[in-house]
């Protein structure tokens, strides 16, 4: 994955977040405070600005800018968590100009570890971890099986979507939704849903690049 593809991913992620702004906010209305879509959309709008202002020269540089901007502009729970995920991934990539599949897999592992370290959520707690962790595992498994970027990204995106859908019956144990206790059951976690969207964006641009 080179810098252009990384930028394309972030732009596509910004697009799907904007398109799903109300959807994500509605998910958050059910078990949170009705701002997740608004938060992420604000964050990614600033991300695009920041990338335009000082275009980074490496995939890692792009991800560091994304992470730093999300931390500085989103707030809420998702700002530091997503920000840390992107920053850890960016740091993991270092200054490589074109990340290979193993480097990408390591970066994703670093991302989910950063999220878990900061937020202390376990799988099944009904958070973004429930989408991110299976996605990272699916990516690693695909790499293990010598899959190409498109296949690995698609596997990750599908795993994230399944993981997000699987949060519906869960009772939230972390974040704002946990205050609802059993009343949090029956609703999809907004952060898991946005994780699936962002990884879906990665699969989309990988496929487009492949066909171009």
């Amino acid at each position: 994955m080179d810098t252009a593809l990384t930028l394309a991913w972030v732009e596509q992620a910004a697009r799907v977040v904007a398109e799903n702004r109300d959807h994500l906010t509605n998910l958050d209305a059910a078990i949170g405070d009705s701002d997740h879509g608004i938060n992420l959309d604000r964050g990614f709008t600033h991300v695009l600005d920041a990338l335009r202002q000082t275009p980074p020269q490496t995939p890692g540089g792009v991800l560091l800018t994304v992470g730093g901007t999300l931390i500085s502009k989103v707030g809420g729970a998702s700002g530091p968590l997503y920000g840390t995920a992107f920053r850890r991934a960016g740091k993991s990539l270092g200054d490589t100009a074109n990340a290979d599949m193993h480097q990408l897999s390591d970066a994703l592992v670093a991302a989910v570890e950063g999220v878990r370290q900061l937020g202390a959520a376990n799988p099944g707690d009904k958070t973004m971890v429930d989408a991110l962790l299976p996605a990272v595992e699916a990516f690693a498994a695909a790499v293990e099986a010598d899959a190409d970027l498109v296949a690995a990204c698609t596997a990750a995106a599908e795993a994230a979507e399944r993981g997000s859908a699987a949060t519906i019956p869960l009772q939230a144990l972390k974040g704002r939704a946990s205050y609802l206790g059993p009343r949090s059951m029956g609703h999809e976690d907004p952060g898991a849903a946005s994780t699936a969207l962002i990884l879906g964006a990665l699969a989309t641009v990988a496929a487009e690049a492949h066909h171009a």
Binding site: T25, A29, G32, D33, S34, D35, I38, N39, R42, I71, S72, K73, V74, G75, G76, A77, S78, G79, P80, L81, L118, G119, Q171, L173, K174, G175, R176, S178, Y179, L180, G181, R183
Partner: protein, 330 residues
């Protein structure tokens, strides 16, 4: 949703421009969203920084001033502020004795303040953090993110502020802040939901004859939905929820707080009922606050916050304070 705003995305900056113009005693960095005392850092005094989502006014900006906070960081409406704000605030109010972060226990607030504390610490500024978690409506257990920080925040900011003003060290100020938190509990009730400017729709729905017990301050649904009842019964429910968690005795500091959309006279009615219920526990109401101090936009309802005072806490509560929203003795 009808709101006195211009555009939802400008709500916080427009507010801050208004705050800046209305309060010459405050310095407001509108762009970076940091409110500090106009005098700058007080040399040798511990600096107190708090912050959280907007929409809870007067919290926190209304409590910046002598005897209380040195700086407030308002986030977007109901959204925790970002670390940049707390870093800027901490640098601005550090008078050499370190900075105390007063953090309401919400994942977002905790994480953002945590990141900020790291960055501030890297600057060589001593930082301590106190997490306020007084809301008995939430079980503090493995099954939650822990109790929410609500009404006790006002008590913590006032009392820790007084201790800092007296020259307490960072450890002392942090310790009294934790003591206030440990001795304080809250329980809130909503009669109506509220709507953030950005969302444009209420956070939950409530029937014409329903109320929500155990609400938070972010327009989120509460612990239980029950039929509407009298002020007396509501006050009783609040007192008992607290008393069951922290048996009331001795001298109490009691706040009957309006959530933003409840007339002041109703808060007095609730306070009168609280008084009657508390009397049955044998405890004494020694200090009182009735009004809008930590709100949820235009939500109708109230929150009861109780602190079991010690002579030291009473003296610190009584110490002079001079902020837009709380002022006495000076």
């Amino acid at each position: 949703m009808k709101k006195l705003i211009n555009a939802p995305q400008d709500a916080v900056t427009d507010t801050l421009r208004g705050v800046a113009a209305a309060h010459p005693e405050l310095t407001v960095d509108v762009e970076n969203k940091v409110i500090t005392r106009s005098g700058g850092a007080t040399a040798g005094k511990v600096g107190l920084v708090s912050g959280g989502g907007s929409g809870h006014e007067p919290l926190h900006g209304g409590f910046v001033g002598f005897g209380m906070l040195d700086a407030a960081c308002p986030g977007e409406v109901f959204t925790s502020p970002v670390p940049d704000q707390m870093v800027q605030a901490s640098r601005a109010v550090n008078g050499g004795a370190g900075v105390l972060h007063i953090v309401k226990n919400y994942t977002g607030d905790v994480l953002n303040f945590q990141m900020a504390a790291e960055l501030v610490g890297d600057d060589g500024i001593e930082v301590a953090s106190v997490v306020v978690n007084d809301d008995v409506a939430v079980q503090d257990s493995l099954y939650t993110a822990g109790r929410r920080g609500t009404g006790a925040t006002v008590f913590v900011e006032k009392i820790a502020g007084a201790r800092a003003e007296q020259g307490g060290t960072l450890a002392e100020v942090a310790s009294i802040a934790r003591e206030v938190n440990e001795r304080s509990r809250s329980f809130g009730v909503a009669l109506t939901p509220c709507t953030t400017p950005a969302a444009g729709r209420p956070g939950f729905e409530l029937g014409e004859d329903e109320i929500e017990l155990g609400i938070g301050i972010h327009g989120e649904p509460g612990r239980e939905r029950v039929p509407m009842r009298s002020a007396r019964e509501i006050a009783e429910a609040c007192v008992l929820a607290i008393h069951q968690d922290m048996p009331l005795d001795g001298d109490l500091l009691v706040m009957v707080n309006g959530m933003g959309g409840t007339p002041q006279h109703e808060l007095y009615i609730v306070f009168d009922a609280v008084r009657q219920t508390v009397a049955r526990t044998g405890a004494t109401i020694a200090r009182t606050l009735v009004g809008n101090y930590i709100t949820s936009l235009e939500m109708a309802g109230c929150m009861l916050t109780v602190c079991r005072l010690t002579p030291e806490l009473t003296a610190l509560w009584d110490a002079p304070v001079q902020t837009p929203a709380l002022r006495w003795g000076r």
